[in-house]
Structure formats: C-alpha cells, structure tokens
C-alpha cells in the first residue's frame, strides 16, 4: 500500500489545490447560478479526494463518507438550491459589501495565515494527507470570508455549506475522518439546516420584500 503512496499523495495534493482554487472562484463569483455550480464542483472534488484517501489508506468507512458527500453535496443540496432560487426568482447578480479584488486580497492574506497556522500541526501528524491541512483551513476561512462579504441570504448559505466542505476536508486530512456517527449527524444537520434556511428565505422575503439580510439588523419598524 505504501509503495504506491507517493502518487496517491500527489493526487490528493492536486485535489486539495483544486479545492482551494474553487474556494477562490466562489469568492470572486457574482452570479448565484454559477455559485451553485461551483459549490457542486467543490463537493465533487471533496468526494474524489475522500475516495482516494480511503483507497490509499484502506479506511473503509471513508468510502461511506465519500458516498454521503456525493449524494448530499453534489446532488441533493444543489438541487434544493436550484429549486429555491427558481421559486424565489433571485437569479440576478450578487452584490458584495467589499469589491471583489479587495476581497481576493484579503483571501490571500487568509491563505497565508492558514498555511502558517497549519504548519506546526501538520508536522506532528503522520497521515498521508498531512500537508493538505493548511488548504483545508484556508478553505474554511475563505468560506467564512464569503459569508461576511455577501449581503444576500442565498450566497451566505452557500458560504456556510462551503465552510462545512472545508471542515470535512480538514477532518479527512488530519485524522482520516470523524467517527461514522458524527459524520452522519453532521450530514443530517446540514440537510435539516438547509431545509430550515429555505423556509427562512421565504419568511425574510415576505417580511422585507428582499433577501438582503441587512434588513435584519433593525429590531423594529420605524
């Protein structure tokens, strides 16, 4: 198993790099529909990397995680999101609070921060995926940044889901995944959270005639 591992390690590194690339693409994307497609691609990359880690290390339970990822993040959630934005009729451009080049610059700083943070941890770890921990943390931070800089509700939710992708990747790269019960629990949480947020979208829109969550900052009508 270890004889072939340099190639597996390289493939995982490549997938990790693509994950980071997709995170940046999501950060710079203006259109909601493309944002969902990018989220779908991120899920697919995550699924592939989990499957490769499972094959390279012989951890069979990771195949189940990869399967859940495929079902949930590549098929179900994008489908729900597509349905939602069709119902809400919000296909237009997303407005950002900070302009996109500045956001990207902050993103680069976050990546450097995450890489430095992960360096001592990854030196301690003995897993095949240890060097990707920095990328996983960077993906989490970038998704967080996306949630901060977007003012509309739908991109924020996509940022939240993408953050979960990053966390999942971090778990895979640091410890070969969490216990099955935890993973199933998180998957269910994300799904239920998505459904509840979907209901929320309609409530927000009914109340304020818009999905701009800055309206939520006011406590009462003037």
């Amino acid at each position: 198993m270890n004889a072939a591992s340099p190639y597996f390690g390289q493939i995982i590194n490549l997938l990790a790099a693509i994950l980071l690339l997709l995170s940046f693409a999501m950060l710079s994307q203006r259109r909601i529909l493309s944002l969902i497609d990018l989220f779908m691609a991120q899920g697919a990359v995550l699924c592939a990397s989990t499957a490769v880690v499972a094959y390279a290390t012989g951890q069979n339970h990771l195949y189940v995680s990869a399967g859940i990822t495929l079902l949930l993040k590549v098929m179900l959630l994008p489908w729900i999101l597509h349905r939602l934005i069709r119902r809400l009729n919000v296909k237009w451009d997303v407005e950002t609070l900070i302009n996109i080049p500045t956001t990207m610059l902050i993103g680069i700083v976050l990546v450097i921060f995450a890489f430095n943070l992960a360096l001592p941890i990854s030196q301690l770890a003995g897993t095949i995926t240890r060097s990707t921990l920095g990328i996983a943390m960077a993906a989490v931070l970038l998704a967080f940044l996306m949630m901060i800089t977007r003012s509309k509700a739908v991109p924020q939710v996509i940022g939240f889901l993408s953050m979960e992708n990053g966390l999942f990747f971090a778990a895979t790269s640091a410890t070969y995944g969490m216990p099955m019960v935890v993973e199933l629990g998180i998957a269910l949480d994300v799904l239920v959270g998505m459904v509840i947020l979907g209901v929320f979208f309609f409530q927000i829109r009914e109340q304020f005639d818009s999905l701009d969550i800055r309206h939520l900052e006011q406590l009462k009508d003037d």
């Binding site: 190639y7 390289q10 493939i11 590194n13 490549l14 990790a16 790099a17 693509i18 980071l20 690339l21 940046f24 710079s28 996109i100 080049p101 990207m104 610059l105 993103g107 680069i108 990546v111 450097i112 890489f115 360096l119 060097s131 990707t132 920095g134 990328i135």
Partner: protein
C-alpha cells in the same frame, strides 16, 4: 565540442525560421477554428501570409508630423518578438543563446516591445492612438507581475530562472504532479489572453473605438510597417503559446541536438500548437468581451492565482 556548438547555433536559427514561418500559420489556424466554431465560413489557412505579402508591396503612407520613432517602432517591435521566440525552447532545450537571457529578461523584452508600440501609438497625436496606448499600458502593467509570478513558481520548482533548464527539469524528470502548476497554468492562460489582445480583454478583429486596444494603436500604420506589426503580433501569440507549452506541457522537447531528435520535436510542436489553437478559439468563442474596467479585476485574479501557485508550492511541494 565545437561541432556541438555549431549544431546548436544551427538549431537556434532553425528555431527562428520555424517561429517566423509558423507564427502567421498559427494565427490563421486560430482564425479558422474560431470561424468554424461560430458557424461562419472559415477564411483560408494561408490568409495571414497573403496579407503580410500584400502589405509589403504597398506604399507606406506617413502622417505629416510622424517622427523617426514612428518609423523605427515596427522594426524594434518585430525584433523584440523574434528575439523572444528565440529564447523560448521549442525544438530543443540545448540552445546556445538561451543562456544569454532567462525568463525575467524575456518579460523585459515583451515590455520593451510594449513601450515602443505605445509610444508609436501616441506619436502621431491622434486621439485613438493615445487612447489605445493608455489602455495597452494599463493592461501591461497589470499583466506583467502576474507573468513574473508564474515564472517564479516554475523557477522555484526547477531552481533556475533559465527557461531551458526549467523545461529540462519539468519535462525530463520522473513523473510527478505539481498542484502549483495547475494554478500557474490558469494564471498564465489569463495573462496570455490579455497580452495577445484576445477576446475577454480585447477583440483582435474589431475596429469599434469604444473597445479596441491593440488596433487603436496601429491605426496610423500602413504598408510594410503594418506588415511588420501584424507579423510581430502573430509572433507574440506564437511565443506565448510556446512558453505555455514549454512550461506546462514540456513533453516532446528533446534535450540533445541532432536530426533524429528534430524528427520527434517538430511534429510534437506542430501537434501541440494545433491543439493549443483549438483551445484558444474555444475560449474566445465561449467568453464575451469584458468591459474595459473589468480588465483590472480579470488580471488581478490572474496575479492572485499566480501568488497562490507559489504559496501552494511552498506548502505542498517544498518539503520533498
């Protein structure tokens, strides 16, 4: 030793001739692919040659207030582009001239050509000329750092800034996946689209005053001057394609000197250029022309991707 050097110099000249001959062919091929993809009837493949030949025969018309710089610029630009295509290893990595200029000098040569075409654009004093020149400098100053960062990433991998050594390291080492090259490749593609006045940034076929960049600068040129500039533009496209192929698809560029290696290198180069041309035409067909004020964002993204490539290299690949 001496025989080797002579063969190297011969190869170097062969590479120059290949560049001069193939560059208009590449432009013709891209135009043809683009026309076919857009459901238009395709122009003949040899059209750029005929255009250049026709322009060489025509009389040069100069504006009354054109200075000597205006007349010298086409020659300087053409020389810069020919020199650039000499430095890029296309047929062999064992080039005697390659030691004289590395990747950073190559960026400098492109910058020299850009400065002269911008100066020539402003020289006559028409509003279009200075408009195009200003836009060209805007694009140039944003694209250059991104291009340098791409070169730095590949230099970090191969521990040298010489293009020949980079290609040797990447192409002839045992197979390894470099995630940083994926980032650098995307960044390089974006930079070369901008530098060669291709669709998302500039449209090479338009003469609309609101959108044109490259065409605006050369509006005043005619005759053999225009022929040289057109030829230089296709040489630039050829040089950029060859840099891209050399950095990201270096397989098939032989190390040694000899007839038998040429027999492999030449078809490999032609094949890779043909595929690259199809991909370029595809990108141009699929994307819409951006507003000029979106161009800084486009190139800023390219720069950030190139920086990311370096960071990813340091994180994932440096320890090995």
């Amino acid at each position: 030793m001496n025989a080797n050097l002579a063969a190297g110099i011969l190869l170097q000249f062969l590479e120059l001739i290949a560049a001069l001959v193939l560059a208009p062919l590449l432009s013709g091929w891209v135009n043809q692919c683009r026309a076919l993809l857009q459901n238009r009837s395709a122009p003949p493949l040899m059209l750029p040659y005929r255009q250049i030949a026709k322009l060489f025969e025509k009389e040069v018309v100069l504006a009354g207030n054109a200075s000597s710089l205006f007349r010298a610029a086409p020659y300087i630009i053409f020389a810069c582009m020919a020199l650039a295509s000499l430095i890029v290893p296309t047929l062999s990595t064992d080039l005697p001239f390659a030691a004289a200029a590395d990747a950073i000098a190559l960026v400098g040569i492109f910058a020299l050509a850009r400065v002269f075409i911008a100066l020539a654009g402003m020289d006559v004093g028409t509003s279009f000329g200075s408009l195009g020149a200003r836009r060209e400098m805007l694009i140039g100053f944003l694209a250059e750092p991104a291009l340098l960062m791409v070169f730095f990433t590949t230099s970090l991998i191969s521990q040298s800034t010489s293009l020949a050594i980079i290609v040797e390291t990447l192409g002839h080492r045992e197979f390894a996946i470099y995630p940083s090259l994926a980032f650098a490749g995307v960044a390089f593609t974006m930079v070369s689209l901008a530098e060669n006045a291709r669709v998302p940034v500039d449209n090479p076929t338009t003469h609309l005053e609101l959108t044109m960049i490259h065409e605006a600068m050369i509006l005043e040129y005619s005759g053999r001057h225009l022929a040289l500039i057109e030829w230089a533009a296709s040489l630039k496209l050829y040089a950029y394609s060859c840099i891209g192929l050399a950095l990201f698809f270096p397989w098939g560029i032989p190390q040694g000197v000899g007839i038998e290696t040429l027999l492999i290198a030449m078809p490999a180069l032609l094949f890779k250029l043909a595929v690259g041309g199809v991909i370029l035409a595809l990108i141009e067909t699929l994307s819409a022309k951006m507003r000029i004020f979106r161009a800084p964002e486009f190139l800023g993204t390219a720069f950030l991707l190139a920086v990311l490539a370096m960071l990813v290299h340091l994180l994932l690949e440096a320890g090995k």
